[in-house]
Symmetry: C2
Subunit: 133 residues, 2 copies
């Protein structure tokens, strides 16, 4: 068992074998997205240097950017005091959000109690994901 | 039903009624901690301007800083495209981590596959939490 295997085995995955991973832009520290990893996706992320996750809705291992080309090069992986959450710093190619925004967190709570869109789209999702439409 | 009630009701809480909230330092954008919110803790966070969470291990509503005095003043709340995750920007008083570090994410994965501590403690948890010891 490698040191990395031991490190991954010691993380606190939830009852579904998943751990939340927050992806942060290494250049400007913006939070880009949150996705779930299992042990395999974390190991592949570390070994390849590109982010891989586990989709709960599709029940599928996936590489970020496999459809869009908007991959993420890993610069650093952090865990917290409880070892049950990850932060992954990346160089983001293109944009993180499948809706066309640089970050998935493009809505801010306004004074009226509703969400305000506070970013502009950087690509047209109908073009980037046309093969899946 | 207020607009805020509608906004909260439209979020995608998990099967336990919880949503992950990533707390980010409004001053330097460091990720400080991750904790879970239910509808009540989010409403109280918005209404009081200070962060409140739900502890899964203690099954208890809690205010950040209630023991340590290390409260968090909310500057902004964001949600993502799936409306199943929150990012909360705060002014952090003291430090976020109960172990004495400014951020809970004080360990970075090293080239050898193990965790390296990459921050220094800013307070002594034995003194700050002495009433709970």
């Amino acid at each position: 068992m490698s040191k990395l295997d031991e490190t991954i085995a010691a993380l606190k995955f939830d009852e579904k074998g998943l751990i939340p991973a927050f992806v942060v832009d290494a250049e400007n520290k913006d939070v880009l997205m949150m996705a779930w990893m299992n042990a395999q996706s974390l190991r592949t992320t570390v070994e390849t240097g590109q982010t891989h996750f586990w989709s709960r809705s599709r029940r599928k291992f996936w590489k970020k950017g496999e459809s869009s080309g908007h991959t993420q090069d890993v610069r650093a992986v952090y865990t917290d005091c409880d070892a049950d959450t990850l932060v992954v710093e990346v160089i983001q190619h293109g944009a993180a959000c499948h809706e066309g925004y640089r970050s998935c967190f493009y809505r801010r709570l306004g004074a009226d109690g509703g969400w305000d869109v506070v970013a502009e789209k950087v690509f047209d999702p109908d073009r980037v994901y046309k093969d899946e439409a």
